[in-house]
């Protein structure tokens, strides 16, 4: 059964550095999402992407964040200048219709 994959599984970075989190959605899916979960807190929506553009974004998704689908298979989340509070588990998801399929997550630690 096809699955959403994410790389890396863990990422440690220094505050102020740029990070790129990568996701490969399920191949025939049309909608792509990023969520994050700060330790001990709820899963929070960041952004959704459809037809090569952002369709929805939350207040969390400010100018420090960007998403891209560079080559038709990968879906990336870039954080330009990481802050301590960006430390979280980042989940990618994709869907064809209503049901969203989640990746295993990337744990980001900003020092």
């Amino acid at each position: 059964e096809p699955e959403v994959t994410q790389t890396p599984s863990h990422q440690v970075t220094q505050m102020g550095q740029e990070v790129i989190l990568r996701c490969v959605p399920i191949s025939n899916h049309l909608y792509f999402y990023w969520y994050r979960q700060i330790l001990g807190q709820k899963v929070e929506f960041l952004v959704s992407f459809y037809n090569n553009e952002i369709s929805e974004k939350s207040e969390i998704f400010d100018d420090q964040f960007s998403v891209e689908r560079p080559d038709g298979s990968n879906f990336t989340l870039k954080i330009r200048s990481t802050k301590l509070e960006d430390s979280a588990m980042y989940f990618c998801a994709s869907s064809l219709e209503e049901t969203q399929y989640f990746g295993p997550g990337t744990r980001l630690l900003v020092l």
């Binding site: 899963v43 929506f45 959704s48 209503e98 295993p104 997550g105």
Partner: protein, 109 residues
Amino acid sequence: AQRVTQPEKLLSVFKGAPVELKCNYSYSGSPELFWYVQYSRQRLQLLLRHISRESIKGFTADLNKGETSFHLKKPFAQEEDSAMYYCALRQTGANNLFFGTGTRLTVIP
């Protein structure tokens, strides 16, 4: 604004006992409700959604619009049901999900 509340962070039941994981929501429109489950070291996966009215792994959930609830129930808990359970809401016309804080269910053998 929409909100999903799962009042219990932790819930322990004995194997074979009934289990109910509570979920209440706040949303002025007509929501779509989901239960996602995360087993140890695995990814979030859909357990069930209210519009399909299915029973998955013995779990059921009924949307009660009067009480704005979508509680997850199973009559006889199994050890393999031990996991983190998240209730989620999707607004009309939107794709993103709003999650509750989750309930960690432990089934005691």
